[in-house]
Every structure is written in structure tokens, then in C-alpha cells.
């Protein structure tokens, strides 16, 4: 049973998605220009890539070191081979402490494992505390972006939700009032929760230090107020040393928001010591779930990902369909790579690498230089090995043979496209600006999610010939 793929991929988003996504990706593009001015971007990418490559190459050694250090500090380390094991372990830790309320700070890894549902089944309420996640959870929805989980919702959606929760009216334009409401509602939970659950952005093997990066402060609260802190981490997040951490804690916000520092960056080395008011207990749950199997293979570099979200904003497909379109916990180009990579080939996840135009914008945006477009092609090839689709392959082979020769093209292409153009011309009437917003049958599906250009009255070849002969 696949847990990462939640529903089949679909390309028709909720109506608020596109305007919000276009604003978000526009903001990101501007910030990217700023980022390039702050540092020698190519040099920084190469250093970041080298730090992550070192980590994945030496993964077993570094994980051993991390565990030894953390245990020496009085922390607990748990190994989970699967998502189910990770969820069960976390539920057991909560149950042993009699905890019924946990505060959670945004963790994509817990989305991957489906932790919230597992905790709920065990009688533990897990409250998301990142503003976007809080809204998404209260609506019974799912996050649609690694870093901006509520990017698909409008201020009106949030105002309506808070009005319903509080019984008082909220004005969508007054975002400050919305934020103030969330601050008050969540503050009580932070003070009451027995357990804080977070993800991990990096773990430093050298000293057993967990590094958590955020903008809002909810991670600081989740790792300060409750007496128990449970951190869930994919095993690939470990790095060797503090020098590497110094670089990556700047590269991560630089790639995602164009600044060298995130709102808060926490370096947590063991549980609270000597009467410090932090958590007395620290648990690190190390999740494998398909990750170690990728080492040494053609998709190994996908493990270098630092979850910055840059490839999502850079992707023309993501910008059109939104994160929910992927139907999996991880969306965008990196989701289309790691979901099938970790699943090891299910029909649902094998469909994800098709959600790409292979334009390469993701690879160019990636701060650790993952060759995402190459990996998408590799995954498509792997999917075809599992499901050869012989008829489709034969059709394309025939087409390639015909159209790679001018004689073959003239004999078939000219006639075929002429017929299609005549059919299209009869069925479709574009608007004056040269676009067709909605075409009738048999082209209707094509225009459900996109406008198309009105076709040229005459094919290019015909115009070229007329021009040449004139």
C-alpha cells in the first residue's frame, strides 16, 4: 500500500490556486535575482552540492557518528525502516508518557509518513502550528507546497475558516487580525502540549546537533515549551560537520526566499541540560523507507535535496496545476522524482515523471545541483521497463521513422496536418486576440486547463514554399 501517493495525479486545480501560485512564483523569481547579487551563486551551489554528496557517499558512517553523539548527550535514537514503523514508534513514545496533545511544527517527512492520521488513530491530537499548516489542517485539506502549504487558499478562505472556528467575523483584507487570532489560539496549545514533534533540516554528525530552519517561530516554541521533543528525520539529512552546516543554513533560505538567513535557525544539541527550561527528553526517529536503496543507483543525487522548494516555483507545470495536482506528499519536480524513486515503481507514482515539460528550469534552480530533468527521463525509462506499452512504443517508432525523412514527412505529415487543421478550423473560433479559451469536441479536453493559439490559416510549410517560390 502506497502512503506517499495519496490520490491519482490530476491537472485541474481549485480556482484560487493559479493566481496565488503566479504571485508566489513571481515573488520567488524576484528574490532569486536578489540572491544572485548577494553571493557567487555558482560557487555556492558547488559547495552545497559537495557537502551533500559527501554526506550521501558516507551515509552509514555519518549516521553512526550522529547516533553515538546523540546517545552520549542523553538523547534517544530510533530506527524506522518504513513509514508505519516511524509512526508507530512516535505514537508509542507519546502513549508511554500519557500524552494526548502534541504540537507539530511543519515537517514534510511527517506528511510523507501520514503521521497525523496515525496519531489520531492512537488517540493523540497533533496540532499543526505553522500558520499555513494550521489552516490546511483545520480545513481537512492537505499542504500544496513544501514551504507554503496554504498557497492554494485565498485570504477569504482563511477568514471564513477563522470566523467559523471563533464565532466572530473576520475581514479577509485584515490579515493582521487573522494572524493575531492564530497566535492566540495556538499559544494555548503550545503551553498545554506534552510533546513537540518536528522535522529536521540538517543533522550534524560531528556533535549530534539537529538543525531546524523556519520563518515563524513555531519550531522554537515546539522545541522549548513541551517536556518531550520528538524529531522525525529522513536518514539523508545528516551532514558531516559545522562548516557544512554554516553553508547550508544560508543556502536553504537563499534558494527558497532570496535571503541569507531564515527567520529562526535552531541548533539543538541533546535534551535540556542542568535545569534549562527546554525539553528533558529528546527522541530522534531516523526514517529510511526506500532511501538507502537509492544509494549507488542512477537516482542517488535525489537524496541530496534540502527541501528548499525552489524547483517547484521554477516549474511551469507546477505553476499551472499546483501541488495537489501531483497527488503525493512531495510535489513539483523533486516530488515527481523522489516519490517514484522511494516507492520503487507503482502505477500511480510512475505517472508522476510525466508531469514535466523537461525544460530543465528545475535543474537550473536547484541549489545542490540535482540533475532533476535527467532523473525524470531516467524514471520515465524505468516506468516503461515496468509497463512497456508496446502499442504506444510501436506508434512512436513508426512516426519517428516516417518524419525523420523529408519524403516520409511530405507523404504523411502534410496530408495529416492539413486534415487536422481543416477539422480544427471548422470546430474552433478563436477570440480577436488570437487565443482560444474553450474549444468544442473533440478538442474540449485540451482547453480545459489551458488556452491555445488560434491556428494559422495555412501550415508553415505551405507558407515557406510560397515565399521561396515568389
Amino acid at each position: 500500500m502506497s502512503h506517499r501517493v495519496i490520490e491519482p495525479a490530476r491537472t485541474t486545480p481549485n480556482p484560487a490556486v493559479r493566481p496565488n501560485l503566479h504571485v508566489a512564483s513571481g515573488n520567488w523569481a524576484e528574490r532569486r535575482v536578489q540572491a544572485r547579487q548577494l553571493v557567487d551563486w555558482e560557487d555556492w551551489r558547488e559547495r552545497a552540492r559537495a557537502i551533500r554528496a559527501d554526506a550521501i557517499t558516507n551515509l552509514p558512517e555519518l549516521l553512526e557518528r550522529l547516533e553515538a553523539q546523540l546517545v552520549a548527550l542523553g538523547g534517544y535514537v530510533h530506527h524506522a525502516a518504513t513509514a508505519e514503523e516511524a509512526n508507530a514508534r512516535i505514537a508509542a513514545i507519546c502513549a508511554q508518557r500519557g500524552a494526548t496533545l502534541a504540537v507539530k511544527a511543519k515537517s514534510m517527512t511527517s506528511e510523507e509518513t501520514g503521521l497525523n492520521a496515525a496519531l489520531e488513530a492512537a488517540g493523540i491530537t497533533a496540532v499543526e502550528t505553522d500558520l499555513g499548516e494550521y489552516v490546511v489542517q483545520a480545513l481537512g485539506d492537505r499542504p500544496s507546497h513544501i514551504l507554503a502549504p496554504a498557497v492554494h487558499l485565498s485570504a477569504a478562505d482563511v477568514a471564513a475558516l477563522f470566523s467559523r472556528l471563533s464565532g466572530r467575523a473576520f475581514d479577509p483584507a485584515d490579515t493582521r487580525a487573522l494572524v493575531d487570532y492564530a497566535r492566540g489560539a495556538l499559544r494555548d496549545r503550545f503551553l498545554a502540549a506534552e510533546v513537540g514533534i518536528t522535522g529536521v533540516n540538517l543533522a550534524i554528525a560531528e556533535t549530534g546537533t539537529l538543525v531546524l530552519v523556519e520563518s515563524e517561530g513555531n519550531i522554537r516554541l515546539s522545541t522549548s515549551m513541551p517536556p518531550v521533543h520528538i524529531a522525525l528525520m529522513g536518514i539523508e539529512k545528516v551532514i558531516r560537520d559545522w562548516a557544512g552546516a554554516a553553508h547550508l543554513v544560508q543556502m536553504l533560505p537563499l534558494a527558497s526566499q532570496g535571503t541569507l538567513a531564515a527567520g529562526s535557525t535552531s541548533f539543538i544539541t541533546g535534551p535540556a541540560r542542568d535545569g534549562d527550561d527546554g525539553p528533558r527528553e529528546l527522541h530522534l526517529v531516523l526514517l529510511d523507507d526506500g532511501r538507502s536503496a537509492l544509494r549507488g543507483g542512477p537516482l542517488e543525487e535525489a537524496l541530496h535535496c534540502i527541501r528548499c522548494g525552489a524547483c517547484l516555483y521554477a516549474c511551469p507545470v507546477y505553476r499551472q496545476i499546483g501541488g495537489h495536482g501531483y497527488g503525493s506528499a512531495y510535489s513539483g519536480p523533486i516530488g515527481a522524482v523522489i516519490t517514484p524513486a522511494l516507492e520503487g515503481g507503482t502505477p500511480a507514482s510512475d505517472a508522476l515523471p510525466e508531469l514535466s515539460s523537461l525544460c530543465g528550469a528545475c535543474t537550473e534552480a536547484c541549489p545542490v545541483k540535482i540533475p532533476l530533468d535527467d532523473q525524470l527521463v531516467t524514471l520515465r525509462a524505468m516506468a516503461r521497463e515496468r509497463d512497456p506499452r508496446r502499442a504506444e512504443a510501436a506508434l512512436f517508432a513508426t512516426w519517428a521513422r516516417l518524419w525523420s525523412r523529408s519524403g516520409g514527412y511530405r507523404a504523411t505529415g502534410a496530408a495529416g496536418s492539413g486534415a487536422l487543421a481543416r477539422l480544427w478550423g471548422r470546430a474552433v473560433h478563436g477570440s480577436d486576440d488570437g487565443w482560444v479559451p474553450r474549444a468544442p469536441f473533440p478538442f474540449a479536453r485540451w482547453t480545459e486547463d489551458r488556452d491555445v493559439r488560434t491556428p494559422a490559416p495555412e501550415p508553415f510549410h505551405a507558407r515557406w514554399k510560397a515565399r521561396r517560390d515568389a
Binding site: N20, V23, A24, N27, L73, T129, L131, G132, V135, A148, P149, A150, V151, L153, A155, V158, T175, R176, V179, A182, R183, L186, R187, L191, T207, T209, S215, E216, G217, N218, R220, L221, T223, S224, M225, W242, A245, A246, H247, V249, Q250, T259, L260, A261, A262, G263, S264, T265, S266, F267, I268, T269, G270, P271, A272, R273, D274, D276, D277, G278
Partner: protein, 176 residues
């Protein structure tokens, strides 16, 4: 950013450039930088900024003589802390929590005032982290770098005041 070495004048100029850079970055992030000549002046300015609001403070001696009474962190309006380091390139302040330096007092109140010794301002993150981590030594249990007040862009991508951590930040740099 590398400071010229050799003469005391060059070092002073280099430090002034660091302060300017830090102040600009902090302002970009929505925080405020105040520069004063002495610890006494820093305490005086802190008293003026607090102006009768309730305060949760850390036990650092530099923070003495500013407020007469303390309020539990969950109810206090102002968090009064001492930063261990500040990073000119990023605008962030860094501080270790520990005994006498409560995590709650550092994060729960809506406003934060941080005192910083001028010598604790460094150029980059690598130098800042070196303050907390020396090879072979155990780092503090919790170190936080906070860049400006808390922010969020979770509602329609508009960057607004944050949800959880302090939403106003004044950094007072004092020379010795």
C-alpha cells in the same frame, strides 16, 4: 567580508562598516538597530523602550538595573535578552539558551529587546557559529539565530507580521 589588518584605524573603520551593514540588513528584516557608547547608555535606552511594559528577562548581569520586577514569560509583553553574537551579512542575532537563559523568556513575548556587545558583531555565519562550537567541545543544548522579528507569508503570499515569535525587535549595540 575581510577586514584590513595592521592599523587600529583600519580595524575601527572595518568595524564601523560591519555595524552599518548589520543595521541595514536588520532594517530590511523589520528590526531596529540602536548604537550607544556604553552599557549604562544601553540600559537607559532599554528602560525607555520598555516604558512601563511587563518584562521577562534573562539572568545575564548586563541586563541588571533595567527593570525592577519580572513577569512570567507567558504573560510578559517584552523579552529582554543578551545576544552572544550578531552576523553583519545576514542581520541575524545568535544566542545560546541555558540556565538563567530561559527559552520561553526568549520567544513568548510579543516584543524583544536584545543587548549586544559591539565586539560580538562578526562578518559571517561561519565566524558566528564558531562562537558556539569549538572542535572537540560540546555545544550548548540550544542555540538560536533569529533574523529580524517573526514573519509569515502564508496568507496569499503577503509578507506580514509573524505568528509565534516576537514581532518587534530592537537590538542595542553598546561599546565597552
Amino acid at each position: 567580508m575581510r577586514e584590513p589588518e595592521g592599523s587600529a584605524t583600519a580595524t575601527t573603520a572595518g568595524h564601523a562598516a560591519l555595524r552599518t551593514r548589520f543595521g541595514t540588513r536588520l532594517a530590511d528584516l523589520g528590526g531596529r538597530l540602536h548604537e550607544v557608547a556604553s552599557l549604562a547608555a544601553a540600559r537607559q535606552l532599554a528602560r525607555e523602550l520598555i516604558a512601563g511594559a511587563t518584562v521577562a528577562r534573562w539572568a545575564d548581569w548586563e541586563l541588571d538595573e533595567i527593570v525592577a520586577a519580572e513577569t512570567p514569560a507567558a504573560e510578559a509583553e517584552v523579552s529582554l535578552i543578551r545576544a552572544d553574537v550578531a552576523v553583519a551579512e545576514t542581520g541575524a542575532i545568535g544566542f545560546a539558551h541555558g540556565v538563567g537563559r530561559s527559552r520561553g523568556a526568549g520567544v513568548l513575548p510579543a516584543r524583544q529587546i536584545a543587548l549586544l556587545h559591539a565586539e560580538d558583531l562578526v562578518a559571517g555565519m561561519a565566524a558566528a557559529l564558531a562562537r558556539f562550537h569549538a572542535a572537540g567541545a560540546r555545544p550548548p543544548s540550544n542555540v538560536v539565530f533569529a533574523a529580524g522579528p517573526s514573519r509569515t507569508a502564508d496568507i496569499e503570499q503577503r509578507r506580514i507580521v509573524g505568528v509565534h515569535a516576537p514581532r518587534e525587535l530592537d537590538v542595542i549595540v553598546f561599546a565597552s
